[in-house]
Amino acid sequence: MSEFWLDMLVVVLRCVFSVAFVMNIVPLMIWGERKGAAYIQDRPGPNRAPIDLPNPADLPRLLSAALRGEPLDYKPVVSLRAAGLIHTLTDVVKLAFKEDITPDHVEKFYWFIAPVIAMSIALCTFAVVPFGDSFLGYNLQVSSLDGGLLFVLAMTSLGVYGIMLAGWASNNKFSLLGGLRASAQMVSYELAMGLSAVVVFLSAGSVSLAEITRQQGEALSIFGLVEIPALNWNVFSPFGLLAFILFWVAVFAETNRTPFDLPEGEAELVGGYHTEYSSFRFALFFMAEYANMIVAAAVTATMFFGGYNVPLFSGAFLRENADMVLAVLGLGAIPAFLGLAVVAWKRRGRPFYAAIPSDDPRRNEPAFFTAVWLGAAAAHGGLGVAGLMGGLTGLSALVGVEGLGADLLVFVLHVSSLGVKVLIGGWIFIWVRWTLPRMRYDQLMNLGWRYMLPIALVNVFCAAGWIILRHELFA
């Protein structure tokens, strides 16, 4: 009985983790989008919305005032702007409290569920993405479906329903055109996308994403001559690289990102499919776009870039040398954080700080961040020392669970590895958006049907031939 509840607990934890993984990267992506756009365009970008931190000495007074429901008035010590990260927070507050307008002319039911579909489909897709090899014998994947990749393709096809329904139910020609464009685009690029995925099936011999990822954690053998550990990524095979490029381009179209963001082409379609949406319904579409990007980046990383695998270091290796890895990472992080602390401290000399009054709480921000980075350096130093002293083995022994410490470390490293790959993928989305102009619709269709589809088809056959050849030659 207790084993059943433990299983249930694990299922819930997996679900919570996967949703949290996606939803926590969304604000980061939005921040990256804004700040990245700004820096690419030679401007500072968002940097104003602050969180005013009170003097710690005031906290008891403020707490009691808050409990009595009185207004909180205090003189802030630090005004935390965090390079514009707070803007994302204020955006959420704004969108949540804005008036939610339902136009009279919309098809109410479909109009209401469209953003829900968009958001939930984006989150569901992540269910089959493994975010670690195993933790104390439990799979780190919400659902270890055998047909994982097929599920991903199915879900991305469903995702367009949210947009189509929004466009149609808005009862507005601009929204409808946006919805139509989205569906036509999805149909056109799904073929290339599916065919690129076939290359991955073929090389893995499986459509389970866990299996595909596991295989990519093996050593990469270059013509049987050299073996590079834990780098057997699909992207490093000749046809895998082409498949990756096709898949990645198709992903842009599927997520409606520039240069393929015609469904919301604001120059000609007002706001596209979300013209009629406001407040939190709009926020759902907004977040769904970023969630889709994150999930697409995660799926791409899983299919072509080894998923959660840390390059050059297999899970087994990391487990065996857990304490040493922790020591190296912990101590190695110290110079990085010290560097950040120096950078933060040097920001005090910027002209902005010369222009604001001497009692402005924003003046203390560099010092605050210096302290934060120094604290982070100290914490990592502590972890490094713990690793040197065999802390992870000791932890396992202390709790009495075999391999707990090593599994904990490997879990963190695998999730971080996947996270870094997702962020890189997300950054490419942003980077491309602020580099390329939007394509014309006929160019979009030309590219999809006349170039990508034939190339993808040829690629599948070539990849199949290559795999047979490789078996014959090197197996």
Partner: protein, 192 residues
């Protein structure tokens, strides 16, 4: 529908997009990296905190000047509403009983929503009673009626309702503006 034909025959590398796309991305990334390491490249002025220095001839909000005896310099000669191309100045003239100036503006309203800041009123004024040298450009209000600057508002512009503007003005000029007298020092009974 006839589609526009490409003007130029593209080479293979151009028509495959990939090379050109990568070139563009290298360019944008170059900007990004340069900007991360040298934030002084930005031309952006962090406005409420850092302010662009206004030129000496900048035309900001209007102010009305006072005579040394504290009375209003304006004698309601109607030159400014006459030249005003936006017809934003509304003056009602009245007779000042105990003032050698005889005539004074009972109301002197400038509708700042209509004003186009051309400065003709300053040029036309024979009494040097109105100036636009305050360098106040944050002219805003919550209601349309508050956007109509009244005589009392414009007389006290520097010290009364916009003390920060007055401080900035004097700090920049190094002295009290010419003809400016504190509103509180005006003798009783002088026309306002």
């Amino acid at each position: 529908m006839a589609l526009p034909k490409p003007q130029k025959v593209l080479t293979l590398s151009e028509s495959s997009y990939l090379v050109e796309v990568l070139k563009g991305m290298v360019l944008t990334m170059g900007h990004l990296i340069k900007n991360i390491f040298d934030q002084d490249r930005f031309r952006t002025i962090e406005y409420p905190d850092v302010r662009k220095p206004m030129t000496a001839r900048y035309r900001g909000a209007h102010r009305l000047l006072l005579r040394p005896d504290g009375g209003l310099k304006c004698v309601a000669c109607m030159c400014c509403p006459t030249v005003c191309p936006a017809k934003c100045i509304n003056i009602v003239a009245g007779e000042a009983e105990n003032d050698p100036a005889e005539k004074f503006p009972i109301t002197f309203d400038i509708d700042m929503l209509r004003c186009i800041y051309c400065g003709f009123c300053v040029e036309a004024c024979p009494k040097d009673a109105i100036r636009m040298d305050t360098k106040i450009y944050e002219i805003n209000a919550y209601t349309r009626s508050d956007m109509v600057h009244s005589k009392a508002y414009m007389v006290n512009l520097m010290d009364g309702l916009k003390p920060e503007a007055g401080a900035a003005y004097r700090a920049e000029q190094g002295l009290a503006p010419d003809g400016y007298t504190n509103a509180d020092s005006a003798p009783e009974g002088s026309p306002r």
